[in-house]
Amino acid sequence: MSGQSAAKRRLPDLRTRLINPVLGKEFTLRMRTPRSMWALLFYLTAIGILAFGFMYIFRMDYGLGAASFDPGRSRTMFLFISLAQLGLIAFMTPGLTAGVVSSEREKQTLNLLLTTQQSSTSIILSKLVSSLSFMTLLVISTMPIFSIVFLYGGISPGQVGTVFAFYLFTMLAFGSFGVLFSTWMKRTMLSVITSYGLTLFMYGGTAFLYLILHLMIDSMTSGQPNPPGYSNWLGFLMGLNPAAALVSIFEPELSRSVFRGGWFGPSSAEAPIELWQEYFIVYSILTVIAIPLSIRHIRPVLKRKRKKAAGRG
């Protein structure tokens, strides 16, 4: 009995240590609103439609039964679902993070929070973690749909794990950008628009720019053979694209092809860096910059002003 009561006593202590008040508040309030349930429903419906729709189209195209669904196609289906999920993450993450601070400012609850003992770091990280936890819940809830690919073979659990790790990293990176905009900008609407704009650029803009610039350079250097081993710097642009980075994990040829010098250049050139490696490095740096910037901006910088005043005096 005493052991049980000791365990009961330890449990709240552990909870207090792991979940700070802001995080607890975010969890509670997020799960109390019906919007979260609707978001989960929308998300699962969307991913379900995409996955089952893709399976249906494949089977209709080949006119074959499930038994003949070969591993090669299963792999294509896996990539398709993975990319579809990445698209949904791109759609959801700014919406969940770009208002976390600015909405508190608009609801006039932020000043009350800022006069508590909670540090700026604790407030920002709690808000980021709570938003990402909900995103993680959405992504994990799609696991049964993902596991359909295991029925057909060709995909290892490790690969599924890699994709989920990639999702978590992408959510963290884009989530930290959303929190930064939310802290920086007074209005949630502006922050949300900026976050979606950045996400759209990273997903679509980088690919579009790559194609356009590639075609332009190609037309300018048409007929001039590239030296062996030449690599096209434009490939670095594609390393910023989350979809390209995800595909490059499973298709290393993608990295080589985007760094290849022109359409008619030598095909033997190796990629200076895998797209997913570049993606990981660049977005890690940006995340590491975005989070401290958010922390710095949530409260006024009092000490700097003090030094300035002292300097004048």
């Binding site: 700070n20 006039q108 609850t109 009350l112 508590t116 003992q117 700097r304």
Partner: protein, 337 residues
């Protein structure tokens, strides 16, 4: 309610009494040369203000005078551009976290988390202020009793009336037993009954020995509950002192009217340099000013003005009462900015 709340507030009261016994003369708030600009607009112009521990200080001034800005700086929510701001001897720019531990801040406009129940709301802020759960369990019913919301402990915050939300926010300010309460227009937007309830709570907090800064743009709202008054207008402190002092000053001082044949602007400049002359106001060729001197000084003043080229048509004492004087001092009161 008084008996119950006295019991509820016992721990806090004891600590306050011990504090006040040891250091009632200690300054709880010290502001020297505080300046704050928002772009080209200078919100505070070198404000000086001191408030002793245990004082209930009424901060009065029209909308846009700088009350909320001063309070936000005290609450570490705004950085001062210049000057020194100390709470209980701690500089707000040096150790804001320690300042936050000592203050309970209630802004003029605030939001609440509607999906929380009232007890959850207070638990959240209590936890955010570092109060262990076991202590909060004992404290929160007392706080709800103090603000007369015990019967609403399980109600969702969004079901509370505005007055109840104001009281809940006040309970939130008290959750960590702060030494200083900064209450920015706590009675604004409340109906008369809710105002009376708020005033009763203020009296109880005063009895508990809290130092309270309470702002308002309505003098009668503050007059009966505060010990000291500070009057701020257009970013400048134009008067500060105990209620008795201010009343004495205002009653002792007179408002004189000087009607001129011309040159009112020059007369204002001359008057501002004269002894015994306080605030000077001009309305066309009519100049009104506070005068603290006696009949002899008044006569001498008139002679000096005439010698310097001022051409009076009439020079007399204006018929005013205390309220009129306050209205003159805080000209612009009630005008939304």
């Amino acid at each position: 309610m008084t008996e119950r709340t006295e019991q509820a507030a016992l721990p806090a009261e004891n600590s306050r009494q011990a504090d006040s016994a040891g250091g009632s003369d200690r300054l709880m708030v010290e502001i020297r040369g505080l300046t704050k600009r928002f772009g080209n607009f200078q919100a505070l112009k070198s404000i000086d203000l001191t408030i002793r521990r245990g004082t209930v200080f009424g901060f009065i001034g029209p909308n846009g005078a700088g009350k909320s800005t001063t309070m936000a700086i005290l609450a570490t929510l705004l950085a001062p551009d210049d000057g020194i701001v100390r709470v209980d001897g701690i500089d707000v720019t040096e150790d804001p976290k320690e300042v936050r531990r000592r203050i309970g801040y209630m802004p003029d406009f605030f939001g609440v988390y509607d999906q929380f129940r009232t007890t959850e709301y207070l638990h959240f802020y209590g936890a955010s202020c570092g109060i262990p759960r076991a202590e909060r369990e004992a404290l929160i019913p007392q706080l709800l009793e103090l603000v007369n919301l015990s019967d609403k402990k399980d109600a969702y915050v969004d079901t509370l009336s505005r007055g109840m939300k104001q009281r809940l926010c006040l309970a939130r300010c008290l959750v960590h037993d702060p030494d200083l309460l900064i209450l920015d227009e706590p009675a604004s937007g409340l109906d008369p009954r809710a105002r009376i309830e708020m005033r009763e709570i203020m009296k109880e907090l005063k009895a508990m020995g809290k130092t309270i800064i309470i702002s308002s743009h309505i003098l009668p709202e503050l007059a009966e509950m505060v010990d000291e008054i500070g009057v701020i207008e257009q970013g400048r402190m134009i008067a500060q002192g105990s209620v008795a002092e201010i009343q004495h000053r205002l009653q002792a001082g007179r408002i004189l009217e000087l009607r001129l044949a011309g040159g009112a602007e020059e007369a204002v400049v001359l008057l501002e340099g004269e002894p015994h002359v306080g605030r000077v106001m001009r309305d066309g060729q009519l100049v009104r000013f506070q005068f603290a001197g006696g009949d002899e000084e008044q006569a001498e003043l008139l002679v000096r003005l005439v010698e310097r080229g001022v051409r009076p048509i009439a020079f007399s004492e204006a018929q005013t009462n205390l309220e009129d004087v306050f209205l003159e001092m805080t000209k612009g009161i009630g005008v939304k900015t």
